[in-house]
Symmetry: D2
Subunit: 133 residues, 4 copies
């Protein structure tokens, strides 16, 4: 059981009818995706043809920042704001889709791994959006 | 002229027909709002009736994280992704509205200042959304 | 194998004689600790006696921010700056120790879990400091 | 008067004998430096010879993350932890020095502006370290 899941179980108030498995899957996916994107940007910077990776780096950095903010927002339940968290998940899903598409268009192993992690996070955001509205 | 504005002027490639004044106003508003929300959460924590401020603190922390991510996204132009930046601005506008409403319902000076800063940032995001689509 | 570890293996240049297992353990510990601290601050906010948790929340929020920044710094190797990363790991170790001590002084399950995660991250930073100097 | 300064004045408890002018100068410098470094990394990515800027981008990204975390830590006073904030200021001063040195070695306007902002932030951290110990 991930730490995010343990922390959710320890929350002292009622969480309503949120799907806990989908929520913790989404938090964990956001953390993983944020790190993968930071690392992919850095790996792109060390490629011999950096110029060809400039746009990919831009996507990676945006996606990393948005995933990190979303992981934080999803980890908070006190003063829960349905509109705020929905728009945050939507921004995260959009960033993951753009970054995943960009990474999938490159051949390097770091881009392949990052693309896969972005797809997973995009899917986790979609699943949570379907579940929470 | 703010540093954000100086940095924008020094960007080496063409920025297209972006409204530079609105873009830098939005970056500056996001930075200011992120700090105000962090400080407001902390000030709320030191109020004698903290329990009454718990929801406000939750809004403050979410808004701070989203403003910070948005300031970063708006500061990047390489590999510019119109969908990604639009959904990020929308998330920011939504978070600022929620947090501004919550802060405006409290009497403390830190909440009054924070509400004002949230309104300014919400407006700056709206202005940029109207301008950029 | 964690995503951080897969991304490290995909880095295209020579990493020198860094201990890869310790480096990825530290990145993973920072990500986990940042999330646990964000969630612990939020759980503290929902305790019936919030006032008693105000200082704990302050520690949680600082520790979360520093762990997040450190996870990012440790995920970058291009333009590696030995002084910068060392002082970042030191700040992270200090924040984890303070937050772990504070959380360990409370009885709630979320504080117990968070304290444990802070200890693990403090140890991972120490191990990496011993290894990298 | 900056928003950071207004928020500090609205803090409801005693702040001890902290030098308020130096504290708010340091918060403002961290916010400014974080943005300048994010923008400088992005501008470097759009230079014709990106490969020559790869190390500079690495420094920029580290410095931006550390400045952002430090701005947050400095904006919190509840549960104030002298060791934690000192090590955070030290990490920030170190990152600003490294990034300022790197940027100062390049001719572009964005690097010149960023170097200047890094120097200012390094100085603000030093001033606050002298003042607070």
């Amino acid at each position: 059981m991930s730490v995010a899941s343990q922390m959710l179980d320890a929350y002292p108030k009622d969480l309503g009818d949120v799907d806990r498995a989908k929520l913790t899957a989404c938090i964990d996916a956001c953390l993983e995706c944020s790190q993968a994107c930071t690392a992919c940007a850095d790996a792109c910077l060390s490629e011999s043809d950096v110029a060809a990776m400039a746009e990919c780096i831009g996507h990676n950095l945006d996606c990393s920042d948005i995933c990190q903010a979303t992981a934080n927002v999803l980890s908070r339940h006190t003063g829960y704001d349905a509109n705020g968290t929905r728009s945050s998940r939507e921004a995260c899903r959009t960033a993951c889709r753009s970054c995943g598409d960009e990474c999938a268009s490159h051949d390097m192993q770091h881009c392949a791994t990052c693309a896969e992690v972005c797809r997973r996070c995009e899917q986790a955001c979609s699943d949570l959006l379907s579940s929470l509205g």
